[in-house]
Amino acid sequence: MKLPVVQFTEEQHQFRATVRQFLQQQQAQGTYTTKCDSWLSGSNPAFSKRIGEQGWIGITWPKKYGGAECSALDRYILIEEFLAAGAPVAAHWIADRQTGPLLLRYGTEEQKQTFLPEIIKGTCYFAIGLSEPNSGSDLASISTRAEKVAGGWLVNGSKTWTSNAHDAHYMITLVRTEPFDGTAKHKGLSQLIIDLHAEGVTIKPIRYLTGKPHFNEIFFDNVFVPDNRVVGGLGNGWEQGLAELAFERSGPERILSTLPLLQELIKELKAQQNEVALQEVASLVARLWSLRNLSIGVAQVLAQGGEVAVPAALVKSIGTKFEQSIPEIARLLTATFPRLDAERALDRYMAEAILHGPGFTIRGGTTEVLYGIVAKGVVANE
C-alpha cells in the first residue's frame, strides 16, 4: 500500500522545540533521569501530572472534555519527544493512547465526561486487561466471565501481563458476557471499565527481567461492575479491541524505545572520532529514518480514518526488531559494561535495552502473530 509523504509544518517544528525545551529543563532540574523503554516501564505519577499541567495529555481530544483538538501529527511529535528524551510517561501512556480514543469512539457521554478530563489532568491512569494465564496470543480464547446481575455485572477470572496495573486506577477489561462458544469464540466478548480499587480485585506484581515489577497478575473475585461501565456494545468487545490495535502498533514507541542508547552511542563515537564505527551506525540511522516515515505515514492515514491494519503490523514487527538491534550493534562498536546502576550512561542504557529488549517483540502482539496478519493481508490484497 502507498502511504502519504508527510511534511511537518513550521508550527509543528516549533511545537517540537517547545516540548524538547521543557523536557530538557525538567531533566536539568532532576525531575527525571533518561531511560530506555520509559514509555512502558517508566511510571512516574508526579511527572505525568506535570505533563497534564502542560496540557500535553489528550491533546487531540475535543475541547469540551479539556482537550486541545490538535492533529494526530502534533501528538506524534509530542510523544516522539517523550521517547527521545527517555522521559517517564508510562503512568498516563495507555490512557492517552488508547483509552481516550476508545471512549471518544464508543463511550457514553457520561463516561467521556467522567474520565476524559481526569485523564487529561494526568491523574487518572488506565491499564488494558487482555491476556490471561491460558490465553496469550490466542486472545479470543479468554475465559474471564461477567454475569448479569441487578444493575450491573459480576466479574470472575484473572488477567495477566498487565503493564502498570499497580499504578492504574481503572482497567479496560475484555471479558466474556455470553457463554463460550468454541465455534464462534470472538463473539460474546465485551469491554468493561473495572475500578482496580473495587472490592474483589487483587493485583499481584510480576517481577520483570530487570527485577522490577512493571506488569501484573490481576484476580477478580465477584467484582461488581455497574451497567454504565460497559464500553460500547455488549458483545462487540472483539471488534472494538481490534480498532484500537492500529493505534497501539504503529506509533513511534515501536521504534524509539532504545533511542537514548543510540544517541549516547553516537555521542561516544563522535568523541572517539570513530568514522568506521559511524559507518555502521549509518545503517541504523537509515533504517530509523525509513521506519519513521512509514510510521508517520500510517499515523496520517489513521487520522483520516483509513484502514491500516497491515502497515501497522509491519511497523511494529520491523520497528521492535530495530529497537532490539541497537544494543547488539552498539556492543560491537565500542566497549561497554552493561549495568542497570552504572554511572556511565552508555552502560546503563545498554543494560536497560538488553533487559527490556525481549519484551519489545512480545507485548502488543508477538512478531509471529503480526507476521500472520501481514501475510494474510498481503495475500488477500494481491
Binding site: L3, E80, A84, V276, R287, R292, I318, A375, V378, E382
Partner: protein
C-alpha cells in the same frame, strides 16, 4: 505527485507491459537490442519529459523522471532510457543543450582533459555500444566539469554486469568534446544525488516486482494439498518481503518528495542504505519461496534478482553513502543526534 506523472507512468506501463516480455529481456541479455520498445519511447518523446520547453520537453521535474525509472525497473526494461534521460537532464542543469542523439551517463571520476580533448579508460559504462555519446565527469585544472563527448572514435570493449546488461569499457583517445561545463561542489553533490536517486527508483521498481511475483507464486503453487501461503514458515517469508517492500517504498516516496525541494542529500543517502538491506532480504526470501523453479533460466524471477544484485554495486553505492553519512554525523553541529535527525523532518 503531479498529474503529469500519473499520466506518464500509466502510459509507459502500458507500453512496457505490451513490449517488454521475458523473451525481449532474454534477447538483450544475449547481446541483442530491443529496438521496438526503444523506438516507441524515443518516437513518443517521453524521453524528453523533464526537459524545458525550449529544449522540446514538457517542463517536468526530476520526480517525473523518477516515476519513469521506477516503472522501468519494475519491468526490467532492457534499454538505456534512464541513462539517456539523466544525461540530458544534467546537461540542461549545467546550462547546456540536451542532445538529440542518444547518450549514456557515467559519473565516476577519472577522465583527464588535455588540450580540449578527453583521454581515459572508462570502465562499466552502461549501454555504450548502443549509443552515440557519453556524458561524464572530468577534472580540468583541478576543477570538476561535466563533459559531453562523442563515442564515435572510442574503442568499446563489450562487458556486462551480473544481469547481462551492457557495461562496456570505453577507451577515449583524445575524444572530441562536444560540450563542457565546470561545476561547483554543490552541483556535483546534486548530480550524485540525482544519479543515485535514479538507481534507487529502478531498484524499488524491481523490489516491487519480486514481491508481486513471490506473493502470486505462494497462491498458485500447492504442496501437501494446500497453497504455499497457508504454511506459517512461508508466511514469515511473505511478511519479511512485505516489510522490506513497504520500507523501500516509503523511503522512495520520501526521497522523491525531498528532491523536489533540493539536493536531498540525507534522504538519498538513507534510501540507498535502506535499499541495500532490502535487497538482501527480498532476493533471499523470494528465491527461497520459489525454490527450484526460481533458479531456472526459464523463470522470470532472475531477471529481477540478478538486476538487483548488479545495480546495488553500480554508481554511488550504499558503502559510498555510509561513508558520507559517517562524515555527516561527525561534522554535525546539532547538540545531539535526535536534534540532527529531526532538523529535516
Amino acid at each position: 505527485m503531479s498529474d503529469m506523472k500519473d499520466i506518464l507512468v500509466t502510459t509507459i506501463e502500458r507500453i512496457y507491459k505490451k513490449h517488454v516480455t521475458k523473451e525481449v529481456v532474454d534477447v538483450v541479455e544475449t547481446g541483442g537490442w530491443a529496438s521496438a520498445v526503444w523506438g516507441i519511447l524515443t518516437d513518443s518523446e517521453i524521453v524528453n519529459v523533464a526537459l524545458a520547453e525550449e529544449h522540446g520537453g514538457a517542463g517536468g521535474d526530476i520526480t517525473d523522471l523518477l516515476g519513469l525509472y521506477h516503472i522501468t525497473g519494475k519491468y526490467a526494461v532492457p534499454i538505456p532510457v534512464i541513462e539517456a534521460t539523466l544525461a540530458n537532464l544534467i546537461l540542461q542543469q549545467c546550462g547546456g543543450k540536451p542532445t538529440a542523439n542518444n547518450a549514456t551517463i557515467h559519473l565516476q571520476k577519472g577522465v583527464q582533459i588535455k588540450g580540449g580533448q578527453a583521454t581515459a579508460i572508462v570502465a562499466n559504462v552502461p549501454w555504450a555500444r548502443h549509443v552515440e555519446e557519453l556524458v561524464t565527469v572530468a577534472e580540468i585544472d583541478n576543477q570538476l566539469a561535466i563533459i559531453h563527448v562523442s563515442l564515435q572514435d572510442a574503442d568499446i570493449t563489450l562487458q556486462q554486469n551480473l544481469a547481462s546488461e551492457p557495461r562496456d569499457t570505453v577507451v577515449l583517445k583524445q575524444a572530441q568534446i562536444l560540450q563542457q561545463y565546470p561545476i561547483t561542489a554543490q552541483k556535483w553533490q546534486l548530480f550524485t544525488c540525482w544519479h543515485t536517486a535514479a538507481k534507487n527508483a529502478q531498484m524499488v521498481g524491481a523490489i516491487d516486482r519480486v514481491f508481486e511475483l513471490t506473493v502470486r507464486y505462494t497462491k498458485e503453487r500447492e504442496q501437501f494439498g494446500r497453497p504455499l501461503h497457508r504454511f506459517q514458515l512461508v508466511q514469515q517469508h511473505i511478511a519479511h518481503l512485505a516489510g522490506e517492500q513497504a520500507m523501500a517504498s516509503a523511503a522512495f516516496e520520501n526521497m522523491s518528495a525531498a528532491l523536489l525541494k533540493g539536493t536531498a542529500l540525507d534522504e538519498v543517502a538513507y534510501t540507498t542504505i535502506c535499499l541495500d538491506e532490502a535487497i538482501r532480504t527480498v532476493t533471499a526470501s523470494a528465491h527461497q519461496v520459489h525454490a527450484a523453479v526460481g533458479v531456472t533460466h526459464e523463470h522470470r524471477l532472475h531477471q529481477y534478482t540478478r538486476r538487483l544484485w548488479a545495480w546495488r554495486e553500480e554508481g554511488f553505492t550504499a558503502s559510498y553513502w555510509k561513508k558520507e553519512r559517517a562524515n555527516a554525523l561527525l561534522t554535525a553541529t546539532e547538540e545531539d543526534f535526535w536534534t540532527y535527525l529531526t532538523s529535516t523532518k
